[in-house]
Symmetry: C3
Subunit: 660 residues, 3 copies
């Protein structure tokens, strides 16, 4: 439970640096991220390296006892470098180059650009790998930001053909896997294959899926290249990358495998305003605190991408500049967001940014300091959190290591799979259906019942969980099938689970494909609905409405919910359940409460806008709603805060007994 | 009244073919369409022709007594062919090539591609022209699908200049016809003329209209090239093309002139969900049966394009994959759609497709069989229709030929003209106005009054009709003027009729131009309204509201409807009437009832969602509404179904007396 | 108070010209604009000049005593000219050429095209500069129409680099000014700088602002080139350009400096229907008369761009063709628009166009005559106005010169600044905020209080004003600061005033930057809101709601309005006031009434849809509403019209006493 900050000494006169470092310390900050956009300051002319400013900056930070996360500057290559390697530029889906003038002006597949990255990262790692201030390295910055994963340039085509050859060996195997006979799309050699953009109508979905996989693998390779250099020159330092919210265009689990920690950049208000997942009503209600599950969902997701280790690399500190509208946070919201992160296992919460820059694209993006160097609101809240962490430690008798070691959920798991996300979004069948949205709404329902959740990959060990949800695991790999076969807890598989083979074909025995061994049923037909038509559902487990996706199921399993025609919607017995439709939130909660009960897990209906999170004996309570609310757990003592939670309020309770 | 199916043996193992053919027979299917996407299977390498699979397939189908409609495969040229002729690719309005990777990757104007088509069609026609299984040939597939009529590539520019030279002879004639003096747009030679895309603001509407006409003529020429080969090698077979719904980008009447039958591909649910013509309320009400006039409108339209002969080449059998949302049809809807087609004179209804493919772009598109080879819902309904056709024949004593020979409307005609459609949509003047939408709503109003309608071209003979509607016949050709002069029935001309010359100019005497001889009036000014403002209308013939288009008319003719200022909206006397505004549906129905009465035609107000269609003594009744309804004609006996029509219900009645 | 008309003799047979000129005279028209789209008629082949038609046309007009405004034809270069100079074409933001086929197919930055313009304008000026019919020259036509100010072609890049070099001298100065260190965007030379389009995410806002300024300066240079030729060959004639409504992409004040008169093209119905500024309710209410402040706002704005001289070059005479919907004006609306213009100081109102063309893009655009040469409605209204002007002159005893010399407001000023507009729209921070919209709504509130307003540039002399509003003067130049320091009246500065330096950076002392000397306060933070959240505001000056933009202000000044948290929204004392938020119209009116009172100005709440305008002793009253209304000023006598104003009604009153 440490605080950090993102800092750009190159934007400010040297005369200010010492004061900045001192003020950071005073505020309770221990970590400082620097360097990730500074390539043109480090190397203003080709091969002419200016290290002195960075030497000095690191020394000043170190002298104040601050630990540094040093960013490789590869997200912002200088103009001269781009002019030397014009083929490094990405192309958008419309075939237009994406030029220099902002950031991320490169495609991951460019081998020329990878050479330049190898060069600059090696130079940095050689110089600073052993510097005592350096605690960690961040590779690049926000892979994929500004829609930069899928690129359609020459380098991408070359990489795709190599990737396909590696995967399929022969072009006939590819034709078979893709079903190219369908519209005479057969290829005679890998050299005939093009990228799946600018086709007359949609390209073959297998083609599109493989291209997405290939692009994701380019990110993995790009990251690994930097990781290998940093591991070599800077042993013992944590390697990390900063991911983004609601971003699924590459496989974060795969990138995470090569790193030590997962971090992400959390902007609760910007994302609320910007994202289609939220209704107008939600956008209005949560305008100043953010949606109650936005932070939590990503904390749990990325902790799973980081082998259990989580940082917040950028925490919104006030209004941002990039959303359609950029309101100020409610008083207390920055504190709440910080505590929510800690409650989900974040070791570090680092604010973005130290001081608001008066120039450039983000000049309207708040920092802990205002452009004039005075403290902004968030500075006060950050200092408050630092003080509360000390208070928590004292009152619970848990030192920093013990707080860090508090266990996470371990009892309820929701599976999130990037490959499934791509597969199902390529052909949503109903525009109202989005894999990510459905996962999020399932997570929300679990959390509104007071459950603490782990979000796990399809490769995760499932042994410890009492309840496992597969929202829509499109393809069931052999490994997953085996782990499911051995799984002892309660399992719920949602609509579209097992509906595709690895090659994006319909399984021979129809959905749920191999899962039929656990769930003997057949999905005979799909009713993909617009938002306006939400048929009634009722049965043993409750009543309500289904939406967006409605499978026609043939099974002998008991019907727990039925549709208007009496056909099964939710079926199962003992420990294996299958849900064939998306459900409205209230019915979803009824079902999850039943499932949790079968799994021996207690649930409670929380007040609107209130959420809790448990770690060990601690219970963290948060109020995201615009009105004050009330939350008091049984058999627990208040450590921080009050029973009445004001809007944006936080309380921490300690359970008397062992954790339930 | 025959059933057929679309079949892709190349997608399935040969071991299954025999079983497929047997099951088709058993289901009552008599026709099988095959081959139209199979070029890469026929010719996997340039010049290397693989006929054996097709030989075997035709033999198996023939051995089961099935008749084959063989498609030329020119909608899906293989990759190697495209690589040899890159200039065959179309360009979109933004100037981007439209690449290989799906289908229809060619422009009709490419002479290189026409040569390749000539080659492959000749080879196919030579090999199968006399095969006993072959009953018919389909040219290409769905001309224009995926917006492929207007293309802006080199080949299109070349074709356009040739076409213009052919039409105008001298560039001065063109300058004159287009009014190029307007903004110094005069050309000095045909070689100066460009395509009308990517101009700074809209190009000259005359320029745009001629380009649309030229592109349409390219389709005619492309089709004719295939027709001539097929006629030569496969005498006596019906030549057909499969048109689409709500598609007006080429002149179907002209293409139809060269063929024997018109067919179209009908997807009532996909089009309901996709098309802007339908209101949100309609999309919700008719979610599972489709809009009551969708099928009927197109049946009547395309029968008119097919010289009276109509097939359904593709009939939706369950959920499709390509609409924004893809719900399941109501139970009985497939049967209803089939009978609606028969009631409009369809000789054949062919379901798309036999078996749902587990791969490729359409893997979520239902078939009569599921991907696992089991029967889907539609198979049962198809077999039911086959049995009912036999029942109808027995109960009416009409054999197959007599059923086929049942007469169509012949009494009420609505004129639909592709050239008028292009003309009026180029400059709609109010975005709420669309030619096609207006025609459709007029058709709907007629049909809600129980009338059976023929949709006729501007070249059609009008002699037999008692009532003729010209929704918006922009240009009145000399030939049409003459036929109107001789026409003895009741005529209603709608707003915008006669408002343009053939060169897209305003007539010297203003609208309705030459029609003034029949309708002595002048359209002095046009009030083109947004949807939110719908002025009141009242008068001798009823009251209600006008919308979208409101002409200020000067005439001595009697006023049958007036606007709030007392100016005429509907005028006329005896047999000639002019309507200067679009009207809301209920007022439109009042007017049509009056007109029908003047023409000696009986009308009745049908219950919401219910429609009827008469052929000879038979009256077919359909319920598209979500609730059960009731319909009983006078002096008729029930042959099939019940007086109470459930949702998606069908009934067939036989009139006791001669048809009214 | 003269009438004119736009006339295209080249569209009509010569045999008609004499009749046209006679009818114009008879209608009361004194000025005729011709020639501006006639390049291909003047020079059908390169270098082959056809002057005769124009000679004859001028002679005929002259013989009828009509005065001619001759347009240079540079908005429509012929095809052969474009083919000779393909580099003259503009490119859109997507990098696509914008081709020949309509008009305005050039970029202002093309030196090749400027040479061609110099040639043709010189030829015209030499031939007609001394012609007795020529009273005035119009340069080109509607600079920027069809979004033609920002162009991204080679010529634009070249011009931009030259412009930047001229402005910054050294590239380091540019790097500093733009803050290019921010994302390693530093340049090493001016040749590295690209245009700010097609970047991966938004380009540096300083980069974007300078590009906008450069493009605006290209227009100034383009216009000046023509001005210099015309001044040389045609001394004593008024030089004018015709601006457009709601168009801010170049600095009209700068262009206006080189001309004698500002004119603009006013289409009240087209703009109401087309523009996002108007709510759906406004679009419906004012469908047939236009929004009550549309004309007035632009009259006052452009009079300020024309050094006090204003013409209407194109006045809507009936339905137009280019808006999404094109309704007919209410009876009397053309008369009302004409009088509104006169009341704001217009010397001339010229209708567009004489006769509706039956061909080309605008064939559905009404004229004073219909395509068949008969009078349209507007002809009657124009003649009516001509007669009323004579009546006004007689009844008031003011001859034409005296009417022209009636003084304008001179008491209330609203500052409009193109540079501020660009600056604030580049980063609106809330999509609901637009500089132009906010200025317009402030103007509307003033006008609903019966005030007559001057709209002034940031360079204007402020001495005479009693009340000065700075809606959002982003950057306060030294000159403006000095004039504000010396200003004696009541000043209100609105939100975002002083929030940027000239280089688009945040001022070191934060907003309002240098204005702090007059208004001692600091804008600490900004709350940029979506439309749905409108916090309450209350205090000494009223209550209501704020919207879109909400500043957190720190000041010792008295709070006149506060937000829900008790923080200041409107502050000030004596003569200096600062408003930190946008306000709803009713609260804005309360505040303006208070400010006007402090400034010693009388206000009154006018009935909905009614507006007045004062010039000298005359009070003009207008009713834009759909219902009749009532207006009677104190101590004034009716000169024209009635106290009860019908919809689209006009009345003119004469004050008994000296103007208040
Ligand atoms: Zn980002
Ligand atoms: Zn199609
Ligand atoms: Zn214009």
């Amino acid at each position: 439970m440490k605080l950090g900050v993102c800092y750009y000494p190159e934007h400010w006169p040297k005369s200010r640096w010492q004061q900045d470092a001192q003020e950071m310390r005073k505020m309770g900050i221990e970590y400082v991220r620097i360097g990730e956009f500074s390539w043109s300051t480090i190397e203003p002319e080709p091969g002419e390296l200016h290290w002195q400013w960075l030497d000095e900056s690191l020394d000043i930070l170190h002298s104040q006892g601050l630990k540094v996360i040093l960013g490789t500057p590869t997200a912002t290559p200088p103009k001269w470098l781009v002019d030397r390697h014009p083929s490094m530029l990405a192309k958008d889906e419309q075939g237009r180059f994406r030029y220099f003038g902002s950031r991320r002006h490169y495609t991951f597949a460019s081998l020329e650009y990878r050479d330049e990255c190898r060069r600059i990262v090696t130079l940095m790692a050689q110089r600073y790998g052993q510097h005592p201030a350096i605690a960690s390295w961040q590779t690049d910055n926000e892979y994929g930001c500004h829609d930069t994963i899928l690129s359609y340039a020459e380098a991408d085509l070359t990489a795709f053909r190599v990737w396909l050859k590696g995967k399929y060996g022969s072009v006939n195997a590819l034709n078979q896997a893709w079903g190219n006979v369908f519209w005479s799309m057969d290829y005679r050699s890998f050299d005939e294959i093009e990228l799946p953009n600018l086709t007359v109508t949609e390209a073959n979905p297998s083609h599109r899926l493989d291209f997405q996989r290939c692009c994701s693998d380019q990110v993995v390779a790009f990251n690994k290249l930097q990781v290998e250099i940093l591991r070599h020159y800077s042993k013992g330092r944590d390697l990390v990358h900063n991911y983004m919210g609601f971003f699924t265009a590459f496989d974060h689990h795969k990138v995470g495998q090569d790193l030590d920690v997962a971090s992400w950049d959390t902007y609760p208000l910007g994302f609320l305003d910007q994202e289609a997942i939220y209704s107008q009503e939600e956008k209005q209600t949560y305008l100043r605190v953010g949606h109650p599950d936005f932070g939590a969902f990503h904390h749990d997701l990325y902790r799973g991408c980081g082998k259990g280790r989580l940082w917040i690399m950028e925490q919104q500190p006030g209004p941002v500049n990039w959303a359609p509208h950029n309101p100020t946070p409610a008083g207390g919201a920055v504190r709440l967001w910080t505590w929510e992160a800690f409650s989900h296992g974040a070791e570090l919460v680092s604010y973005f940014r130290w001081r608001q820059a008066p120039f450039g694209q983000e000049q309207m993006h708040a920092g802990l300091l205002r452009p004039d160097g005075q403290e902004a609101e968030a500075a006060v809240e950050a200092a408050h959190v630092a003080q509360e962490v000390r208070q928590l430690s004292q009152q619970t008798g848990l030192d920093a290591d013990a707080l860090m070691a508090l266990p996470d959920s371990g009892r309820v798991a929701l599976m999130f799979d990037y490959d499934a996300c791509w597969s199902l979004d390529i052909q949503p069948q109903s525009r109202a259906y989005r894999y990510l949205f459905w996962c999020y709404r399932m997570y929300e329902a679990l959390r509104e019942l007071g459950l603490s959740v782990d979000i796990v990959s399809s490769e995760a060990s499932l042994d410890t969980y009492k309840l496992l949800i597969l929202p829509a695991q499109a393809h069931i790999s052999d490994g997953l099938q085996e782990r499911l076969n051995n799984y002892q807890g309660v399992l719920l598989a949602g609509p579209r689970t097992g509906s595709k083979t690895d090659s994006y074909q319909i399984p021979e025995n129809l959905a749920p494909g191999p899962l039929t061994s656990l769930l003997p049923l057949t999905v005979e037909r799909v009713d993909a609905l617009p938002d306006h038509t939400r048929p009634s559902v009722f049965g043993l487990w409750g009543e309500g409405r289904l939406c967006h996706w409605h499978e026609q199921i043939n099974t002998q399993l008991p019907y727990l919910l039925k549709d208007e025609a009496g056909r099964p919607v939710l079926v199962g017995a003992n420990k294996h359940f299958y849900l064939g439709s998306c459900l409205d939130k209230s019915l979803l909660k009824m079902c999850f409460a039943k499932l949790a009960a079968s799994a021996g897990l207690a649930t409670e209906y929380l007040p609107s806008g209130v959420r809790i999170r448990e770690r060990g004996k601690l219970i963290f309570a948060f109020n995201y709603g615009p009105q004050a609310s009330h939350y008091r757990p049984d058999n627990a003592e208040l450590v921080i805060g009050t029973e009445v939670l004001p809007s944006a309020g936080v309380a921490i309770w300690q359970r008397q007994t062992a954790d339930r």
